[in-house]
Subunit: 255 residues, 2 copies
């Protein structure tokens, strides 16, 4: 918390190193290759360990490097484009190539912020469906889907009380409901312990939190809070196809 | 790069501290208030400085805290919802409440990854329009908009050769073109020096990179790479209104 002025640190040392390292990754390393250890890298580039570590953190933020405990730092593959659907196909997931898999459903009070969006009493239990999304064989997102009982009145007492079968029953009823629309927000967050475990990350890892409100007749029929791995995912929107730009392309300057 | 197993560190100390600190922010501090310094906080919560620093970094990722050089660490206001338009109103920006402001336009070769999406030769200059977006009096995004000459054939030689007037002329021609659609991706990135300066952040700060492809007759008429502040912005999608959920609500558990 010093008094350094922003102007005087426009190009800090780690930033320059990051650019140099980024070019070295392109020319000298291949995807999946393990980088030399920090001491060796610091020596090779003639920088302090602390500077090196900052540059490595930048490259991790940008999805160029992966750091895994017990493995080391490896060159990351390009980020995977994951379509954030604007259609209803969400509900029928199982089996598709980029499917959501329903893993559990319980009845529990929603977090207070969720309860207020759903316009239910904070003490009232709602259906909490847990889903996991995989893409290209990798877990990319973990979701909590909150569904008030009033949205699925036909849900039968003879359906399973919990577990994947219960989750599928809730989704089936949501599908029958027919949605009028949805709105969505995306923001940066850090992985909670339960999400981190599903995503094979440490708690606190950067994630993209996608909050979706599913609308019926002007009200909110369900609310989804989905946590996507920020290191490996690029979220795509729109039906015209994916943006095919390389994941680190936009970092380069125009002139 | 130790050999610690993921399982044994499911709830690291900084994670627990983060939760405790988060509750203290809710109950003991108000928005804009400056936190005690690191030494004092570490003593108050009985943790090492390094643990405290990790927890503060988490809270910064989640948008709960702001750290500014020369000011210290303050309690952040809730994130601002910024609509990522699916309509064409982008082009007519000036003057609207959440406007894009055209600040410059030059002719320069596009980065190679951009050139390949635009299907232009990497050596050919394209129009590079620089725009800045403000919301609630704050700069929230900085954009490079790449427009091949072939997309704006009517652009007159009597228009200004560069600067904001040139930028507005390019946007006017894009508007005349009429777009068929757009697709978009969102991913985590780190602020480049030039974007960081516009956004009043240090280079390398986490940002949300929104890449938009504007489509005409099956081709890409223009490509936008917009860098949003990840600390203060929540990107919203869809026309039905904003998701009104609190920015740190989804962090809480359902059961």
């Amino acid at each position: 918390m010093g008094t350094t002025q922003l102007e005087s640190v426009q190009e800090p040392k780690y930033w320059h190193l990051k650019t140099v390292l980024s070019e070295a990754l392109d020319s000298d390393f291949s995807v999946g290759e393990i980088l030399p250890n920090e001491r060796e890298l610091a020596a090779r580039f003639g920088v302090a360990r602390a500077t090196l570590r900052q540059a490595l953190e930048q490259l991790e933020l940008e999805g160029r490097l992966q750091r895994r405990r017990g493995v080391g730092t490896t060159v990351a593959p390009p980020r995977v484009g994951v379509a954030v659907s604007t259609a209803q196909r969400d509900w029928t997931g199982d089996g598709a190539a980029e499917a959501w898999r329903a893993v559990d459903a319980t009845a529990a009070p929603a977090p207070s912020s969720v309860a207020s969006v759903l316009e239910v009493d904070a003490a009232d239990p709602v259906h909490v469906v847990r889903r996991i999304r995989t893409s290209h064989g990798q877990t990319v997102a973990a979701e909590f889907l909150y569904v008030p009982s009033s949205s699925v009145p036909e849900l039968s007492a003879i359906d399973a009380p919990s577990g994947p079968a219960r989750a599928r029953a809730v989704l089936r009823e949501l599908h029958r409901l027919g949605l009028d629309g949805q709105d969505r927000s995306v923001e940066l967050g850090s992985a909670r312990a339960d999400d981190a475990k599903e995503l094979d990350r440490l708690p606190g890892a950067p994630v993209l939190v996608v909050t979706t409100r599913y609308l019926v007749a002007g009200g909110t029929a369900a609310l989804s809070v989905a946590t996507y791995r920020a290191d490996t995912c690029r979220l795509t929107f729109g039906d015209a196809g994916k943006v095919e730009i390389s994941h680190h392309g936009p970092e380069r300057q125009a002139s």
